[in-house]
């Protein structure tokens, strides 16, 4: 389903061994090694708050969102700042790749074998040489996950809006 709508330009990055991508148009900027302030008593995926030129931006650990296990003291150095309806949000990733034009690439729906957390975030898969590129839904990747049922509805409507 999601594969029918392909994005032409993808910003790619790695979290652990996972090669991931989001629509490059959503990416505002990429920052390295931002000092971060912990937010107590919140979802584990909220890794902290960063100061983006006076704006306080939530940094979300993409590994936590995707269910990729990483050591507790592992701090991904890169912040991919993406624009959302609710202001900028920073996604924490281990390293960044380039911008990929997917015009001529085939996009498959996410395989059923992906675990639940991945299924929720991944909209499609591109086959690269010896590598799978997982394309993420920006809105879902940047949310702080609480109840999946309500948030997925939210996103449904948001997705629809994008189509119009």
């Amino acid at each position: 389903m999601a594969a029918t709508k392909t994005t032409q330009l993808l910003a790619t990055f790695w979290v652990g061994h996972a090669h991931l991508a989001i629509d490059a148009h959503h990416v505002q900027e990429v920052l390295v090694n931002q000092p971060m302030v912990r937010v107590p008593r919140t979802e584990p995926s909220v890794r902290g708050l960063i100061n983006l030129r006076g704006q306080v931006v939530t940094a979300i650990g993409l590994a936590d969102r995707l269910g990729i296990h990483q050591p507790a003291d592992h701090n991904p150095p890169f912040c991919v700042v993406v624009r959302t309806d609710d202001g900028p949000v920073s996604l924490l990733v281990d390293s960044v790749g380039g911008v990929l034009n997917t015009e001529d690439l085939r996009c498959d729906p996410p395989p059923d074998t992906l675990d639940e957390a991945m299924q929720y975030l991944v909209t499609g898969v591109h086959q690269l040489q010896g590598d799978l590129l997982l394309v993420l839904d920006v809105a879902r990747a940047t949310e702080v996950r609480a109840g999946a049922s309500t948030t997925s509805n939210d996103n449904q409507s948001r997705d629809n809006r994008e189509e119009f």
Binding site: P35, M36, V37, R38, V39, P40, R41, T42, V46, G48, L49, I50, N51, G54, Q55, V56, T58, D86, G87, V89, E143, V144, A146
Partner: protein
């Protein structure tokens, strides 16, 4: 394109302005009802309705025009003295105002009023107008000179001034006003003629005017020097006017920059009014000459000195200034003494200018609370009518200003409280008379600034809250146990109305009483960092006190350090700061840490309770600072590692999905560019409450912070070998008394304590099987222990005329007694309960104190 844009802009402005005017109408109608003869008020009301009508006609909102036209006719009859406002008329006219509001809403949504049905409402207005004026709807003579006199002025102006001015004046002058009269005179027409047609009619109807109104017109003519000018000349003027300007432009002539105030003919209304009231000619003439000045002040408020600004723009400005404040903070921090003199001076200048800018911008956002109160007279009137009560509203301090956002935030809570006051608070007339009160109930609003806050008091002189009923209800609903309720003070009882799901209204009325509301009120006030409190006296009335911060955007805060993290605490909640005194360490009573602050027991909360994730690290209590906080009416000490500084911070709201975090009120960027979280003292107490609820096995942990639900809280101690408990309520303080300070007075051990003589009560002698007579090792050992410590641990029980200290050996914990496992005991034991699975005798403190009061020598022998 741009024309269409212009139009939509004009419409938008029309909507804003009309709504403001309608709000004022509400108020004026209510005032007028009390003083129906006020020509000034009537004039103002008439002008407002007329303005709306005129603009509606100009913008081609025919339904709106039809409705307001009917209303205007009715009003003009009143203004002319043919009718006077009574309560029926007021009600209908207020309904018209509501209808106009509804139409405006539709216009805003759909851009047209075509879908609105105004026939019925208009018909009612027309019927009222006809019904009272009878078969001869001719204008009363009194109105005539009013028309004539100012017209004369206009003509004068026309002669001496350039053409355009003449047009302006003619317009503002009653040329058109005459139209209004003319219209009213023959019959009530449903549709107003086009503007051009109006002018013509004015010219035509101008002639017959001098027939019936000759006397008064002449009278006016004598007083006003220009009055000889005949109506024929007026006629001529009107023709000139027609020739000079195309009719639609007419609307623009008077106020080119603000076309929505188009129906400029409105302004001269006070002149006729004044003349009708047989005012001296001079002021009348002045009115005529200055035409739009007096009304300019009343109608559109000081157009020259103020502009309308979108709040969103102000918000944006505020954000920018916030950024500037942060940049300023950073520059200040990085401009050390090693910086060049030039840089230092510049930094200082930046500091001052930024501060001033911030202040000035805050002021632009400030609005008088009166803006909120304007609607209340109308609301109260409607409520009073609906409930058949007599209510008068008093308002004081309506000029008190607070931030626009906050003003909006308190709108609903305030309305709710006032509705409640009228509905539940005030009794009906019969009950009031029976209670010896004046028949008319009073609701008073008072606002004032106090210490960086706005205090709003809403009081009524009604029946007051029935605290017993509230208590019973709380028990009935299972929100608290009867025992817990019995322990509450009156004030605490009154504040129970803020619990969710509580309404004590006997019957659910249309107005209120569904049991939703007061908790929402409280939550809304909490959300903006305010507090609400109730004081009530049965039969006398109730006072709600709201404390609201002036602004939310930039607040003074205390910067503290917890481990290696920095947090900010709003100064508003900080009562005082203490460094933990090494000689008076924090006492851990069971799990509950308490600190003795000037003899009072202050419950403590360690930062790790609130801010630590994962397993709690071992709490360290030494070498700490206690920030004494007040939140939600509770006072507690928040223990932090260090207190760094106070500073003005810019509150940045947390992203929507982090808003659920009760603990934090927002975030900010500190001077060094790092982000820090702002603690929400109210949220902190909530987090702690939640924890205690989640862990029933450790229920005793946070009793200081919550309403005790059904359990008596007991301080568990040992005395000798016996495990005893004391109801926490009965104990004022814990003290450690050096043995050397103990003296004997007539055989009783006493110590001087805070300037009073405190008796020491030894329980061992009173307890069966324990203590002295039992002689068991425990008593002796403990005695030795106490001796070794060279001090006695004493629970102080204080009453007005007595102070007694109960000696115990050791304090074990503070815990909840489970009433289910209790068994009544014999003196001095009031009840035996199970605490943590162990039998604990709860001492009847009052009985013990009373029994040892007239002390027997036997007591001293206890030692």
């Amino acid at each position: 394109m741009s024309d269409a844009e212009d139009m939509s802009e004009i419409i938008a402005e029309f909507l804003v302005e009309s709504r403001e005017n309608l709000d004022r109408l509400d108020e004026e109608f209510v005032t007028l009802e009390q003083d129906p003869t006020s020509a000034e008020l009537l004039g103002s009301i008439f002008r407002t309705v007329h303005t709306i009508k005129g603009t509606a006609a100009f913008l081609d909102f025919t339904r709106l025009e039809q409705l307001t036209h009917a209303g205007e006719n009715l009003l003009s009859l009143m203004r002319d003295g043919a009718m006077s406002l009574d309560s029926t008329l007021t009600t209908v006219l207020l309904q018209m105002v509501d209808r106009v509001r509804a139409i405006l809403d539709v216009v805003e949504a759909e851009g047209t009023d075509a879908g609105m049905d105004v026939a019925e409402m208009s018909a009612r207005l027309i019927a009222l107008a006809n019904g009272d004026t009878g078969p001869s709807p001719e204008p009363t003579p009194a109105a005539r000179p009013a028309e004539t006199a100012p017209a004369v002025e206009a003509v004068e102006e026309a002669e001496t001034a350039p053409a355009v001015e003449a047009v302006e004046e003619a317009e503002t002058a009653p040329a058109v006003e005459a139209v209004e009269e003319a219209e009213t005179a023959p019959a009530v027409e449903a549709e107003a003629p086009e503007t051009a047609a109006e002018v013509e009619i004015a010219a035509e109807t101008g002639d017959p005017v001098d027939e019936p109104g000759v006397d008064t017109a002449e009278a006016a003519a004598h007083e006003s020097p220009g009055a000889e000018i005949s109506l024929a000349e007026l006629d001529q003027l009107v023709h000139e006017l027609e020739a000079a300007e195309a009719p639609p432009v007419l609307a623009f002539v008077d106020a080119p920059p603000a076309p929505t105030v188009a129906p400029a003919p409105v302004p001269p209304a006070p002149a006729p009014a004044a003349a009708a009231g047989a005012a001296p000619a001079a002021p009348t003439a002045e009115h005529g000459a200055d035409g739009d000045k007096p009304t300019g002040a009343a109608g559109r408020s000081s157009t020259e000195t103020s502009i309308r600004v979108d709040v969103a723009l102000l918000d944006r400005l505020m954000n920018l200034v916030s950024e500037l404040v942060l940049a300023r903070n950073q520059i200040n921090q990085n401009t050390g003494s090693d910086a060049s003199a030039g840089l230092q001076a510049a930094a200082q200048q930046l500091d001052i200018v930024t501060g001033d800018l911030q202040q000035a911008l805050m002021e632009t956002r400030m609005q008088p609370i009166g803006n909120l109160w304007n609607r209340l007279p109308r609301m109260i009137r409607d409520l009073a009518t609906q409930l058949d009560k007599r209510v008068s509203l008093e308002m004081e301090g309506s000029e008190t200003e607070l931030d626009k956002t906050l003003l909006e935030a308190i709108r609903d809570p305030l309305t709710h409280i006032i509705r409640n006051a009228v509905d539940h608070g005030l009794e009906d007339a019969a009950a009031r008379l029976a209670a010896g009160k004046p028949e008319t109930g009073t609701v008073s609003l008072r606002a004032r600034h106090e210490g960086g806050q706005v205090i709003v008091e809403i009081s009524d002189d009604g029946a007051g809250l029935n605290l017993e009923a509230i208590g019973a209800k709380v028990v009935d609903r299972g929100l608290m146990s009867a025992e817990a309720v019995a322990d509450l003070s009156e004030r605490e009882l009154a504040n129970l109305v803020f619990l969710p799901g509580l309404s004590t209204a006997k019957a659910i009325t249309k107005v209120s009483g569904r049991g939703v509301g007061m908790d929402v009120v409280k939550r809304s006030i909490d959300e903006i960092g305010g507090t609400i409190d109730i004081q009530t006296e049965l039969g006398k009335g109730t006072v709600f006190t709201l404390r609201i911060p002036l602004t939310l955007a930039i607040i003074p805060a205390l910067r503290v350090r917890c481990a290696d993290e920095r947090y900010l605490i709003p100064q508003l909640n900080v009562l005082e700061l203490h460094r933990v005194d090494p000689t008076a360490p924090i006492e851990l009573v069971g799990d509950t840490p308490l600190y003795r602050l000037r003899g009072e027991l202050l419950p403590l909360l360690h930062w790790s309770d609130v801010l630590a994730d994962g397993p709690l690290p071992a709490k360290v209590w030494t070498d700490k600072y206690i920030v004494v906080l007040e939140a939600n009416g509770r006072i507690f000490g928040f223990v932090v590692d260090a207190v760094e500084n106070t500073e003005e911070i810019v509150v940045k709201p947390l992203r929507a999905h982090l808003k659920d975090l009760d603990t934090f009120a927002g975030s900010t960027v500190l001077g060094d560019g790092s982000v820090a979280l702002i603690l929400d003292p109210i949220g902190i107490t909530r987090v702690v409450d939640l924890q205690a609820g989640d862990e029933p096995t450790r229920g005793g942990e946070h009793d200081q912070f919550r309403i005790k639900a059904g359990h008596e809280t007991v301080l568990v101690c040992t005395s000798g070998s016996t495990r005893i408990g004391f109801p926490l309520d009965g104990i004022t303080r814990l003290e450690s008394i050096p043995l050397t300070s103990i003296e004997h007075a007539s055989g009783v051990e006493v110590v001087t304590y805070r300037g009073r003589l405190m008796r020491l009560v030894r329980l061992q002698s009173l307890l069966p099987g324990g203590g002295w007579s039992g002689g068991g090792g425990g008593g002796f050992d403990d005695m030795v222990e106490a001796e070794a410590a060279r001090s006695l641990l004493v629970l102080v029980h204080e009453s007005d005329d007595d102070v007694a200290g109960i000696v115990v050996d050791r304090i074990i914990e503070v815990s909840d007694a489970d009433p289910n496992g209790s068994r009544p005991g014999n003196y001095p034991v009031r009840v035996s309960v199970l605490i943590d699975g162990r039998v604990t005798d709860v001492i009847d403190i009052e009985a013990v104190v009373a029994a040892t009061r007239g002390d027997t020598p036997a007591m001293s022998g206890a030692w």
